[in-house]
């Protein structure tokens, strides 16, 4: 006997809508059982995971801060993935964007002007896009596999940043510790509202999501992206160039990742350090698929994923579970969401193979 996934002829609209809710219910049930087995009160645990982080203003701000880079990167990636270009190197583009954007506040720290911040953002986007141009060029003109090249460039970016903050960009007043000088006020992305730390990076993420949603839905470019993604051949007949699409999608997602990088550095960290991202570029891939590659879905997915991070911390404190348990719980949620989504498109089929059945019986 073996199990196969068979594509469904028709996708149920009802269950497409219900699937996230079913997944959520399953997570609650199994998560509850897990907490109960650990001897923790499941209601308290679930409360601290999903409600506590939303119950205070400061915590909502933290949610926005955590979600912003995830959403911004994932929105760019959705364009890539939709057009069948697999940019796995957003983490590297995030870092290169942060580095390019930091040139002004770190190297030209004396120059203070209201122009600094917009220029930083532009240079951040440029840095990310240029770094994404490498795998784009290699794929468009050398036919290399962009999954490998973009992924490997992540390590290049990480080590480049590491070298910069330990070497040429090290803060002269920083006791030899590996970090750049802290940004001047002019170079810090301001807070959006007075009640907390949320900076404009969150606004960038939302604006980007709406713009890309509009593009995908109402413009010819959006149509081109989907057609080329589904069938390159069909796209060629329509006069679309898949080579140009490689460039377009890679540069766009690189620019978004770069903007996320410089926003995070300028808004949240305010200096460069050897490590500036806890893997946002990789987590964003999960966010993109959780949001079904739909920009508005990605906003929701980014917020939910950020919530599980914050909830994990809240749960550590309020019910005293270890950080590992909170990771398992996060895994449960992702597992159920993705498997429910899979089951919308596929059905599970058990195949009983007579021949092997008889031989295995004979051998017994």
């Amino acid at each position: 006997m073996r199990i196969e996934l068979e594509k469904r002829a028709k996708v149920s609209t009802l269950f497409s809508i219900l699937s996230p809710f079913i997944a959520f219910l399953l997570t609650i049930v199994f998560g509850g059982i897990m907490f109960a087995l650990l001897g923790k009160n499941p209601v308290m645990a679930l409360y601290s995971f999903f409600v506590e982080p939303l119950s205070e203003v400061w915590s909502l701000h933290e949610l926005a801060i955590k979600a912003a880079p995830l959403i911004l990167i994932a929105v760019g990636l959705s364009v890539c993935f939709r057009s069948n270009n697999w940019n796995i190197g957003a983490e590297g583009q995030f870092i290169m964007g942060a580095i390019a954007g930091s040139i002004l506040p770190v190297v030209f720290y004396d120059w203070q002007s209201p122009l600094v911040l917009p220029l930083m953002m532009l240079m951040g986007m440029l840095g990310g896009a240029l770094f994404a141009a490498i795998p784009a060029f290699l794929k468009a003109h050398m036919n290399t596999n962009e999954i490998l090249t973009s992924l490997m460039l992540v390590y290049v970016a990480q080590l480049f940043l590491d070298w910069l903050v330990r070497g040429p960009w090290r803060n002269p007043g920083g006791m030899n510790f590996p970090e750049t000088r802290t940004f001047a006020v002019d170079a810090i992305l301001p807070e959006m509202i007075a009640s907390g730390r949320t900076h404009w990076g969150f606004a960038f993420a939302i604006i980007a999501a709406v713009l890309v949603w509009f593009m995908m839905r109402y413009t010819l470019k959006g149509f081109e992206i989907s057609v080329l993604g589904q069938s390159e051949r069909a796209g060629r007949f329509a006069g679309f160039s898949s080579r140009r699409m490689i460039w377009f999608s890679m540069l766009l997602s690189g620019a978004f990742a770069g903007l996320a990088g410089i926003s995070e550095v300028s808004g949240a960290i305010q200096q460069l350090r050897p490590v500036i991202s806890p893997g946002y570029g990789f987590t964003a891939i999960i966010v993109a698929f959780l949001g079904r590659l739909n920009p508005l879905g990605i906003v929701a997915a980014g917020l939910v994923l950020a919530l599980t991070y914050l909830g994990g911390e809240a749960a550590q404190l309020s019910i005293g579970v270890s950080e590992k348990v909170t990771r398992v719980f996060q895994g449960l949620l992702l597992f159920f969401v993705l498997s429910c989504d899979t089951l919308i498109h596929y059905r599970i089929k058990l195949i009983f193979d007579r021949l092997t059945a008889t031989t295995s019986e004979g051998s017994r």
């Binding site: 109960a36 499941p42 209601v43 730390r197 200096q271």
Partner: protein
């Protein structure tokens, strides 16, 4: 569906019991860890300190902690969460938490903070550190006695002063026994990565070192040393379990005494900003039992330890030259703490280029 109802029903029953007694008067003392509390090294040492604190003052305080908190914006959030949840005194136990600690401390002037191994203080932020290098001097002497080849391997984390200081102290100690002693340094560029640390250890053994020491947090190098049949030193926690036949000694961070002292001051209302930098004599640093070595080496190590404790021996005492041969300390002169805390140069005898 029935199952779900059952779970919900049983849990609502449970919640009734949970919200019973809560001790209001107990002060909350909180900790932020950079690693898992069971990492076998740095974070575990802090967590043992926390447990000792609970044992000593458990009737007046309760403790809470967040573990595996990444440095950066996440740290800021974690510290703020603790400050908001009613913690009176918060220990942030990694160098990378420094700026986050300072930022949150400005927001919560009534909460006291203690940051480990940093250099920034504020009216409500104290710093504390340990003179790890005192232990490294002893290790250096042992290494020079035990090594057949006169070369030790050193797995370093990041080229920050604390680590450079340790390398120098190890070399000065070793050269006090064997003036030709050499070390090979590998920069792992991580505090906590069993894979990378093991790779570094293997590379060093392949290059012919017969003693390993580490300034990273996992027991992986100790295990490699055990497999390859050479000797090694533990770091931060006693790692004898990872190498019963291998560990010579370990620098064991014993933060408990400091945590108890500072918490007591906090409870008495006598907490003040300080920059504390204690060592072997204050008990913040202890040496794991000297094992797997002949008696004469053990005796030397014990004597050196006693001399450091009494203040008779200071590892950074001249005559010492820098790596490039220039004069650093004249005979009999000892380095001041400021130079040590900003140390960015090697002493003579280190066979490595400091990453620039």
């Amino acid at each position: 569906m029935k199952k779900l109802l059952l779970v919900l029903a049983s849990t609502t029953a449970a919640i009734g019991f949970a919200t019973g007694a809560s001790a209001q008067e107990k002060a909350k003392i909180c900790f932020v860890y950079v690693g898992a509390k069971t990492d076998g090294g740095w974070t575990q040492a802090h967590d043992i300190g926390r447990q000792e604190l609970e044992k000593a003052l458990g009737d007046k305080i309760e403790t809470q902690y967040l573990e595996s908190v990444p440095e950066g914006p996440d740290a800021e959030r974690a510290i703020e969460r603790l400050a908001r949840s009613g913690c009176g005194l918060i220990f942030t136990t990694s160098f990378g938490f420094m700026d986050a600690t300072i930022k949150i401390a400005q927001k919560f002037p009534d909460v006291k903070f203690e940051h480990a191994t940093g250099y920034k203080t504020a009216p409500n932020v104290a710093t504390y550190n340990s003179r790890f290098y005192e232990g490294r001097y002893i290790q250096g002497q042992i290494a020079a006695k035990m090594s057949q080849k006169g070369v030790a391997g050193y797995i370093a984390s990041f080229p920050i002063p604390e680590v450079v200081m340790g390398i120098n102290s190890f070399v000065i100690g070793a050269r006090s026994v064997n003036p030709d002693f050499k070390i090979k340094v590998v920069w792992a560029n991580t505090w906590f990565d069993p894979g990378k640390e093991a790779d570094a250890a293997k590379a060093l053994v392949d290059q012919g070192v017969d003693i390993l020491t580490q300034h990273t947090d996992t027991t992986a190098p100790m295990q490699v040393a055990a497999e390859r049949g050479i000797k090694a030193f533990g770091q931060a926690s006693d790692m004898i379990k990872a190498g019963p036949e291998t560990q010579l000694t370990a620098i064991v961070d014993t933060w408990g005494a400091y945590y108890i002292k500072r918490t007591q001051a906090f409870l008495d209302g006598k907490w003040e900003t300080t920059s504390s930098w204690d060592g072997l004599k204050d008990g913040i640093l202890t040496m794991a039992p000297y094992t797997n070595m002949p008696d004469d080496v053990k005796k030397l190590a014990e004597e050196t330890e006693a001399k450091i404790k009494s203040g008779e021996l200071k590892p950074f005492t001249g005559p010492l030259k820098k790596q490039d041969g220039s004069e650093w300390l004249a005979a009999g002169a000892s380095s001041d703490d400021g130079t040590l805390l900003g140390m960015n140069f090697y002493v003579e005898g280190v066979d490595d280029q400091l990453p620039k």
